[in-house]
């Protein structure tokens, strides 16, 4: 407990500095409202239900897009590693589209699916799929040949080999790719909602900012930032549990 306190004390110092600086008007308190005011605004948003009402669609979009991206991305990456013909055809496309700034797709998904949930889910799916694909591909490609031979020697069918040998050895890199995708999902969720949406946390931020209720805007901004941080921490804990077998093997 006290170790954590010492470790995170710089954050505490920053928070106190923030409070003092805006309390005593060293900077305009519109530009930087005191933390206490932001906390009060946060409670207001929570009791009025605005926060929950907007968080649910945001998280639904992010979750749905991410799940689709993981499913398709993993399948695609392993297929590329397994069949070289798939790799020859799709490899250049993956390589070509991977560096493309995903935010450029926002207007296109709007043209295709309108302003609702569909366009955000499509955007998050498209944006998050390639990191997962590349993770799965690199992981599956680096499967030790010896393991594959042994499995085949012991009479494993191709499907079983995929499930029992290739997938587990691809797992560390795959999970790494999914972590990148998780961070991207949050970025794309917020950006698409800030630019075009009728509801959602990003939209709430834009709305409050446009109305000049800056304390409430800061409250939502910090909430989203915290959600992204928490999601990553939870994901890392899960990853360590899933990969527990690997640590013992390596030690």
């Amino acid at each position: 407990m006290s170790a954590a306190l010492i470790r995170y004390s710089p954050l505490l110092i920053l928070a106190i500095a923030w409070q003092l600086v805006s309390q005593f008007e060293f900077v305009s308190s519109t530009a930087l409202p005191p933390l206490t005011q932001i906390g009060a605004a946060w409670l207001d948003l929570l009791t009025s239900g605005d926060l929950q009402k907007n968080a649910v669609p945001s998280l639904y979009r992010g979750g749905a897009g991410l799940v689709l991206a993981i499913a398709f991305g993993t399948a695609l990456g392993i297929a590329m590693a397994w069949w070289s013909s798939v790799n020859v055809v799709l490899g250049p496309l993956v390589e070509g589209f991977y560096p493309m700034p995903k935010s450029a797709l926002i207007p296109v998904t709007v043209i295709w699916l309108g302003f609702g949930d569909g366009s955000k889910i499509l955007l998050i799916f498209l944006g998050c799929m390639l990191p997962v694909t590349i993770g799965a591909y690199n992981g599956a490609r680096s499967t030790e040949q010896v393991l594959v031979w042994s499995a085949r020697c012991m009479g494993a069918s191709r499907l079983r080999m995929m499930w029992d040998v290739v997938l587990p050895s691809a797992l560390p890199e795959l999970l790494n790719g999914i972590r990148t995708a998780l961070a991207l999902a949050f970025i794309l969720m917020v950006t698409s909602e800030l630019i075009v949406a009728r509801e959602g946390l990003g939209n709430l931020i834009g709305f409050l900012g446009a109305n000049g209720s800056y304390a409430a805007m800061y409250a939502v901004v910090l909430t989203v930032a915290f959600l992204g941080f928490a999601a990553d921490r939870i994901y890392q804990t899960l990853t360590q549990r899933v990969l527990a077998w690997r640590e013992t093997g390596l030690a």
């Binding site: 490899g91 991977y98 207007p107 917020v190 999601a231």
Partner: protein, 274 residues
Amino acid sequence: MSRAANADERNPAGRVVRGAIWAAAHLGSIVGLLVAWEVFARSGAVTMFMLPPFSAVAARIWADGVDGNLWLNVGLTLYRTFVGFLLASVIGVGIGIAMARTRWARWFFDPIISVGFPMPKVVFLPVVILWLGVFDVSKITMVALEAVFPVVTATVLGIQGVGHELVWSARNMGAKDRELLWQVLLPAAFPQIMTGIQVALPIALIVAVFAEMAMGGFGLGGAMMQASRFADSRGVFAGIVEIAVIGYCVVKGLAVLRHHLLLWHQEAVSPSTV
């Protein structure tokens, strides 16, 4: 792979042929995609609004190129991306060195980095607009804010990963702090720092395009948003193609630069990925 490499050494002509086949396969799937786009758009299954044919989009890009708008927008987007990216690289490497070398910097920055890295920093956009307005400064700030984190973590890990033998040998031969940093630690950590910088570049582009979309004005993102508001779907798709090409060129360019900067390093021998 190694067998192919051996064959190449014996027969340089074989390498040329193999390279040509590889390039053809690469181009083939891109060309295939463009042809499929053109055919699908003309088949009548979708309206011209939802998917204009590639030829129309290419004509639009050509027209923009002739009247100069294209170069203005591309130039502005690249300018914002690169200024933000360079700031992020310099500041990131600086903070990383400080964190790896001094105790107080580590104590101060470690929680900030570990909390800040996984956060979607783009949500601070309205705050940055509130402070700095909607012009270049705030766009560049957004880019740098999001791109700095991977550079810091890569630098810290890279410097900490430098072998003790190297440091001890240098010390033993009388290297001072500054010499140790410039002549031993930074070169030895450079591959990892470069990887962090390579992660930061696409992020910088994503944020630059997004910031332009959200704040308006010139630049590829702003042009796309404007086209989208006027239901000008050719303009939107032209923007997508331009941004995709630029993203590819910039990221490839950095990979080539890495190869040249790291020619002395072992990794340059093996083929680089992405």
